[in-house]
Subunit: 260 residues, 2 copies
Amino acid sequence: MEAIGEKSALGSLSRPEARAEAHRCGCKPPNGLAAPDCLECAIKELSVCGALDPDEFEALERIGRSLCAPAKTTLFEQGREASFVYNLTSGALRLAKLLPDGRRQVVGFALPGDFLGLALAPTHMFTADAVSPVKFCQFPRASFSHLLMSKPHLLRRLMEIASQELTLAQEQMVVLGQRSAEEKVAAFLIGMRERYARLNGQCVYVPLPMTRLDIADYLGLTVETVSRTIARLAREKVFVVVPEGVRLLDVAKLKRIAEA
Amino acid sequence: MEAIGEKSALGSLSRPEARAEAHRCGCKPPNGLAAPDCLECAIKELSVCGALDPDEFEALERIGRSLCAPAKTTLFEQGREASFVYNLTSGALRLAKLLPDGRRQVVGFALPGDFLGLALAPTHMFTADAVSPVKFCQFPRASFSHLLMSKPHLLRRLMEIASQELTLAQEQMVVLGQRSAEEKVAAFLIGMRERYARLNGQCVYVPLPMTRLDIADYLGLTVETVSRTIARLAREKVFVVVPEGVRLLDVAKLKRIAEA
DNA sequence: AAAACTCCTTGATCTAAATCAAAGTCCAGG
DNA sequence: CCTGGACTTTGATTTAGATCAAGGAGTTTT
């Protein structure tokens, strides 16, 4: 059923077929032979501050591969061996931890530009599922890790990314531990808005590719409470609910609620 | 592993006169004074897997200073410039984020061996206060950061530490978002037990140097709920409450509750 | 085109934990 | 040796959000 579908979706993208699949997802090879475009983007993402030397860039390009997957695909599962480092180039992922009794905590959502699997643990600490069709790049961990040790400023860049993620996780702890349902929802929307704004400059329209249940599991609420809270804020003219997300009407008010 | 002095200092936490104890590093209880020995421990802590070269060790020793502070001292404050990297060698710190309206989220407790201020952000993301008398080492950030760039395996070690912290933060997100009061308290106690066990092998006495309010703010509960929950678990013979912490009677049951 | 999903919404009720209130304990300082 | 303050505990009451229940809207499947 689902698991089989996932496997074939990802499995079919390995080796020679990968390039054809990558084409279908819209990535264009910069020249006839090299890896598709989004791989290049992924590498650039890594070298934001310090530019990469041509040989470093080449090394990353050689070990990287660009892939696509439909919504609901599981990229990797909690507890499984971490064999790749990922960079998402399009779409969105849900990162979740599952409790034995079925309760679920969404620890984050990955958006284009985000890296996954950078942690130096041998296994993944959470499951990553596509909540929309995704494009991403993967680098085999061993080669990636090896490259890293010979390029200190790449390693430092990684450390910066990890630091940033830790800060975000601690901010989410504040949201989970101290905030009311309304504050949680407002903080979530402001957070998504900022992330999407950084990606595409769009400020009023906030895409919400994940379900209400995903949002609920991210905020430590139930679907019903999330739905009711969003409905109430919409009634109060803070935003308008549209099929793919919300269109903000009163950003100042939303911010005030989120930061209360 | 080599930090034997710390172990005995911690073991003494269960004794009323712990504070007066003269550590073999020779630091004097109130107000900072140099204490070379602890510095050595801190450096060793950093090099757990890959041994440090003598010159690296020397470099760290040259830039580091060892200090003490009484309970309630603030080591650094949220938002302030991060000028030092710290390693705690004895005592415990509360790491907390404050909301404008006074609500507080404790994002963690630092125990001996823990590093602070490793994040590469220019300012501290939380406030660190001593909840008991502490001994710690500080390294000026600039020198530390400079040393790091010339020693890739030190940087990698740091990355491992950051990864580990991120994993812990995500686990705490599960606790905050999905668990009941009883599960939260049980998870907290199991967590503290494991950390202290790693430090001093002690398994039955779990020291709790922080107040009930600190625990409440860590778990997203109120003092009353924490107090009642601890009282109930004690009534159910899961542990006995002693002045400095708890003595576990039924670890299996506590674990069962924590992992439910 | 009906059936079967999944997802979202809204309403009615219930409950775990918050809040309010009041002692009791343990000190550190005068 | 009191005394004031910080911390803890316990009880009574309230409430925010969970749970239970049901309908609707949009899909994919048959």
